[in-house]
């Protein structure tokens, strides 16, 4: 229980850091750390597949892509910011967390739920047979991604 809470708090902190930090590199690493913690949480909740995907994709692939991009663009130079908007997000965020915590606390144990049904099956079966439509969707997303890359990186001979 304590460990779970600590992991969750850590997750939130690293996520917020990822968007608050000014240094690009530190920000990317924050993201990786957050994802790592999330993966661990998944493992502890008996969702090994979710954990594996999370860590390999976010903490692995995406972080590598970001770091490569930062290195290639010589990035990392600090960004000018407008002062007056600095405090809005933290303020609202804190308010949100407080309200959220209070609401969730009052709902603890009171969330109505049907008794959980029988296990649907092995992960592989569920993925292939149980949720085939989603697989079609996934194929479509991959196609979209491929075409997006092809379209956005195309050689431009004439553009208006």
């Amino acid at each position: 229980m304590v460990l779970q809470t600590a992991l969750l708090i850590g997750l939130v902190i690293f996520s917020v850091l990822a968007i608050l930090l000014k240094d690009l590199l530190k920000s990317a690493i924050s993201l990786a750390a957050a994802s790592l913690l999330l993966g661990i949480i998944f493992f502890r909740m008996n969702a090994p597949y979710a954990g594996v995907f999370e860590i390999s994709v976010v903490a692995g692939l995406i972080t590598v892509l970001f770091i490569l991009t930062i290195a290639l663009t010589g990035g990392g130079h600090d960004v000018r910011e407008s002062k007056l908007v600095n405090w809005v997000f933290p303020l609202v965020f804190v308010a949100f967390i407080v309200i959220d915590a209070l609401v969730m606390k009052s709902l603890l144990g009171k969330v109505p739920a049907l008794p959980s049904g029988t296990e649907a099956g092995v992960f592989g079966d569920v993925l292939w047979k149980g949720r085939t439509l989603d697989l079609v969707g996934q194929i479509a997303v991959i196609l979209a991604g491929v075409f997006a890359v092809l379209a956005l990186f195309r050689k431009r001979d004439k553009h208006d």
């Binding site: 991009t69 663009t73 960004v79 910011e81 407008s82 908007v85 600095n86 308010a95 949100f96």
Partner: protein, 621 residues
């Protein structure tokens, strides 16, 4: 006469309009013949339908009480005749006046399309077709004004469309409420007490009807259109069609849908609107320097008499208001056609540039004189009869203040027409007045027909009163009430008529006074113009301070700017920085979002989420 014949007045002009639009310019003669012939056929049809008295066509449409329901009865058939008659006269006039106008073909098509929609609106017996046809008039209104082709025509057309559109939307709301209250959308079955929700419905529908007719404060586009739109349009829509339609609906609202009693709050409201319109509009008319603008303000002012008459809820007053509707259409249309005739030959309608045209344009001058005397309420023209009836009704309600307002209006009406007639047709002919001759027969004929009708309806007022007006009032008055108005219609020896004559004399004196002081007829109204308080008021009016449309526009523009600056720009500002800072390179865009910018929006989302969750949670309890 099968019920399906009721579709002819609606479909016939519409089809003809399309044909007229498609005929090439070279076939102008064919076009003119078709137009006049088609209008004549419509007049014939209208008379034929009038003879039939009662006819009804019901086609089931959408269910839920919405049917395509057309009903011919004495009131609607009377209006049909009037609409058809004016269409014929205007079509004839247009063949000459708009001959060389760049969009003359469209004009001819639009007036037929307008006639089709108007016929449909008059015949409709169910709210949904009524709204459909009523709204359709907006389109032709816009198109007709833009044909004026002046730099400001587009702006005026938008203004007209928006003001009319606002009135129409108000009417739709009122109809929705009335539908809910009465439970049916069939107009002939509705009759409710005007209390509570029904009162709100009454007021909303009144706005729609009075706005269409051009009462204050929905009139401000008419003087602008007087300058920006073709004068034939003015003779057609604001003078004739809109009055007929608007007052028709107002009468239906006051007599059929709601039971308005004399002295009730609704009656008072109508009378106030009528009286205010009469006085304010005629004061504006008095000081105009252009004949068309002067006439347009009078058009607004005369609506006041109609609204006042109907608002009295007294039989003679209502009859007077309705009679005034048709009379006004006749002489107002005639006056505009005269102005058009002058413009056609002299090229201008500014009062100070004209003078002494009666020698060269005798027929036009005659027509103008007759119509001007009629509008001023001089015995024995039709205007006298209907105005007296309205005065009688106003006095009978016990609130003499309205009668006094009407009389004040009469004074200034006559004064301004003395000025106009004197400045244009009578008086000295100076050198700067261009050489003119009488207009072509096709233009003069409608004017003379209308002038003739002024005389006919005045002297032989028994005809229109018994044939058209009195049947409308049957069933709306207590049994045994005196429904014959004709006997004393022309009497001048009663106190009310004497006061009216006194008003005319007063107007004459005012005119002479102004003339002596300023010399030119066109300046005869200056004494009034320069009166201490009135002067300031006139100046403000010239600057459009009193125009609710213009003020509304300013407010909305201001509001829009405020919203734009306070809400939209900051949001955009938030994101502007990203691109300008990282540069336009494609890879640069893939950087992470910055603090305070994207985060801000996220903050809003979270706040919105909390609020929504709270709202739904609270309401769910």
């Amino acid at each position: 006469m099968t019920p399906k014949m009721l579709l002819l007045p609606v479909l016939g002009p519409a089809v003809l309009a399309v044909v007229l639009l498609l005929l090439p310019r070279t076939l102008r003669l064919v076009r003119d013949v078709l137009a006049v012939g088609g209008a004549a056929a419509l007049v014939y049809e209208a008379f034929a339908l009038f003879a039939v008295k009662d006819l009804r066509l019901t086609l089931p449409w959408l269910g839920l009480g919405i049917d395509f329901d057309l009903r011919l009865y004495h009131f609607s058939s009377f209006i049909l005749i009037a609409l058809a008659g004016f269409l014929l006269l205007i079509a004839l006039y247009t063949t000459v006046k708009m001959k060389d106008a760049p969009r003359g073909r469209e004009f001819m098509a639009y007036i037929f399309l307008t006639a089709a929609f108007a016929n449909g609106a008059v015949l409709a017996n169910n709210f949904v077709p009524l709204v459909f046809f009523w709204e359709g008039l907006l389109v032709t209104l816009y198109g007709l004004i833009t044909i004026g082709g002046r730099a400001t025509s587009g702006r005026t057309a938008v203004k007209a469309l928006l003001i009319s559109g606002f009135c129409d939307f108000s009417m739709i709301l009122g109809i929705g409420l009335l539908w809910t209250v009465s439970g049916t959308a069939t107009m002939s079955e509705i009759s409710v007490e005007p209390t509570g929700l029904a009162a709100a419905a009454f007021i909303l529908m009144m706005i729609g009807a009075a706005g269409k007719a051009g009462a204050m404060p929905f009139h401000t586009w008419i003087p602008d259109a007087a300058v920006d739109a073709p004068v034939t349009f003015l003779a057609f829509l604001p003078a004739a069609f809109e009055k007929l339609l608007g007052i028709y609906l107002l009468a239906r609202i006051s007599l059929d849908f709601f039971k308005i009693r004399p002295g009730s709050a609704m009656s008072l409201l109508l009378m106030i609107v009528g009286a205010v319109t009469i006085v304010l509009a005629v004061l504006m008319a008095l000081v105009q320097k252009d004949l068309k603008r002067l006439l347009s303000y009078h058009a607004v002012s005369q609506v006041g008499y109609m609204v006042l008459g109907i608002g009295t809820a007294i039989p003679i007053g209502i009859a007077g208001g309705l009679f005034h509707m048709i009379n006004n259409a006749i002489y107002k249309s005639g006056l505009f056609l005269c102005a058009g005739s002058v413009e056609h030959r002299a090229g201008t309608t500014e009062l100070k540039k004209l003078g002494g045209l009666r020698r060269d344009m005798p027929l036009t001058a005659f027509g103008f004189t007759v119509c001007a005397l009629a509008i001023s309420g001089v015995w024995p023209f039709n205007g006298f009869v209907s105005k007296e009836m309205v005065f009688h009704g106003a006095v009978e309600t016990g609130y003499t203040v309205f009668a006094i307002a009407a009389w004040i209006g009469a004074v200034f009406t006559f004064a301004s027409f003395l000025k106009a007639g004197h400045a244009v047709f009578f008086g000295e002919r100076t050198r700067e007045v261009p050489a003119v001759r009488e207009s072509q027969p096709a233009m003069v004929l409608p004017i003379l027909v209308l002038a003739g009708l002024c005389i006919l309806f005045g002297v032989y007022n028994k005809l229109p009163l018994t044939l058209f007006i009195q049947p409308i009032l049957e069933g709306h008055t207590e049994a045994g009430a005196h429904l014959d108005f004709t006997s004393h219609a022309l009497a001048v020896l009663n106190p009310i008529a004497l006061i009216s004559i006194g008003c005319l004399v007063l107007a004459f004196l005012l005119h002479r006074f102004g003339l002596r002081k300023f010399g030119k007829a066109a300046l005869a109204s200056e004494p009034i113009h320069n009166l201490p308080v009135l002067h300031q008021v006139y100046d403000l009016a010239e600057r459009r301070v009193f125009d609710p449309y213009e003020q509304g526009v300013k407010v909305l523009q201001g509001l829009s700017t405020v919203l734009y600056k306070a809400v939209d720009r900051p949001i955009d500002f938030v994101f502007e920085k990203i691109v300008t800072v990282t540069g336009a390179k494609f890879t640069g865009i893939l950087k992470k979002a910055h603090n305070g910018h994207y985060a801000n929006y996220l903050a809003w989302c979270l706040a919105g989420l909390v609020i929504l969750a709270g709202l739904i949670g609270l309401l769910a309890k």
